[in-house]
Symmetry: D3
Subunit: 142 residues, 6 copies
């Protein structure tokens, strides 16, 4: 009942540069907290973003949501990030450190805003991989 | 207490052809809704099916459920699908569109029926990958 | 000198249905030789195609060949196969059994024909995966 | 509210030998229950351990937990297992069968003990892969 | 002409324990040369073995070699290794250190011996993965 | 004899930012040739570097080359690149466009220089992945 019954997930990839840096920290603090992620020009990653859409199977189409609609939303969500430097090119990360946690939240919010208030389907989770051995699951609302 | 404590998961692969088509739709509707998945003879995929068995660790065997038993159930569940055309060879998909959603539900039901009412272990989820970037999680009961 | 020095490789994915069948064989022969791949409507796979372009690094662009050009060629090569049934939809496989071997050769020839006689870059190999545990390497000219 | 909002996951790999054997079982029982896993000297695996840390995003660092701290905890947790024979070298598995289930529980407990009572972050899950097609999710408390 | 034209590759997985140890070395030498791989009971891995069969496409079957024949040969080759401790259970590794190099050579020889003198197909290479980041390619004849 | 007999391969990962840009090109040329890779601050990738060491199996150790030695060389080779911006932080890429081709060559040369003139082992190839669907093989000497 309250439990999710079915969800469809889709993966999309993008490539960005970033650096970990907080202007409110001293240089020493930045270095100590962010380690090798604190360099002036940054480094980068291939990010894999997975989005989970929760809903019900439409008995006529057999679908929870049309893949075509998902792909448009995902592409729009990551377009400002893909092939860009998050700190320098993306307004949302001027003040906010572009950690995997914060990028996951960014992606969730951008997809969720497009999905809107359609009663049948909701974005229940995104998973964002920074690499094969590090990722974040974000469930919204935080 | 109510929360799951431990689960064992097993993956199995099968290869099937399918097409997306609903006889109740006009040709235009079929084409519009199903896009490139609507062709007369269909296309195909390697499907990866993951099944999650929830239970308790038996203190003597160290197991939630014996892998040998799982493998028999999984094999029986996918045998009617493997190396077949879902629309033409599988009775359950004569009327039902063989989307990833519906195939996931099919697999869940076929495994669950074999597991039966053993009090200790239940099938809590299947995950069905149609490709590396598209999959469905089905939790039963829908 | 005669040995390859550098090559750039690119992967693209497509999904097709196929069946193994030779009209010149008896039903018994078809069944014996092709086993579970011999069913009337076929089954399917996600194919991963990798194409290897051999050449020299252009000192100004740093490239062996522009990725944009590769992507156009690869897309055109697999478009007739993707989301189609190879036996029924693709003229080249009306008489030729669509094994991984023959599909690899098909892809090599289609990419190679587009690359043409540019003196600097040649297609030296394709690798075609039918699944994670089965693939073919084709080097041209056979 | 009660629901998790965000979690960070990290993967680490280790390689161990093990055998399935319970001294309380007869040889026949051992053979029947453990099959090919019951041999005198054992066999082995590359294990992939994933640990999930649940918490809140610190607004200054953008992190749920510092990766440096995670890596120390994970390394300490698997060090007694890595490049060892679980049955012969690890005290915890002298009496307990080193199944994937029990090794997952072992890892969870070892990481959890290091994390301690920090109010902000808790270990909510480990996933332990014995191979690409078999794994266990353990959520603590069992 | 002299160059290979086409080859079919197949992957199979097995799980073994091993230790690195040479009785002709002093304990100090063993420890220095073999490091963490030198422990009395050993550790283990999931090995992925890939075998490459070079030949010509048979125009009637479309195959270089029938997959059914390959699978029998590969299974027989790895059966003595799978779920065993290489040093203690496999005669060939009583004296020979079971490094990835030597196991690759073992597998090549065992498959090659079964393939025999069939003029059309030859085993041109095996690749043996000890893990995702370490493997050996062996081309025979050494 | 002239043919390679055996080679050991090792993978290492690093993360860098880069941009495609040639000061000798006009802005229009840069944009046309480099497309989305031409932005002022760049983007980034997780790079997977594979190095292939060709030699002979030492009969006493069973090894072509000791893994410990490889790991030191690989780490030193990629350290100047890892968690850095190639264009701004790495002298070799001040003038040279940091394409996958040129980075592969850089890595080959840095490993090769460390390996030196040891008669038994030579670096025969590096493979550098920029992502799962794009990579370069470099064989030296170009």
């Amino acid at each position: 009942m309250a439990q999710p019954k079915i969800r469809l997930a889709r993966k999309i990839t993008f490539s960005s540069a970033h650096r970990y840096f907080n202007a409110a920290f001293s240089e020493d603090e930045n270095r100590k907290i962010f380690g090798s992620c604190y360099t002036p020009y940054g480094h980068g990653h291939n990010y894999d973003l997975e989005a989970f859409f929760e809903g019900k199977i439409d008995s006529k189409t057999g679908m929870v949501i049309n893949l075509r609609d998902i792909d448009i939303m995902l592409k729009r969500a990551v377009e400002p990030l893909d092939h860009h430097h998050l700190n320098f090119d993306v307004p949302e990360f001027k003040e906010v450190v572009p950690t995997t946690e914060n990028i996951a939240k960014y992606c969730f919010d951008k997809i969720s805003a497009q999905l809107g208030q359609s009663g049948n389907v909701r974005l229940s989770q995104v998973r964002l991989y920074e690499g094969h051995d590090l990722w974040v699951d974000y469930f919204g609302g935080a």
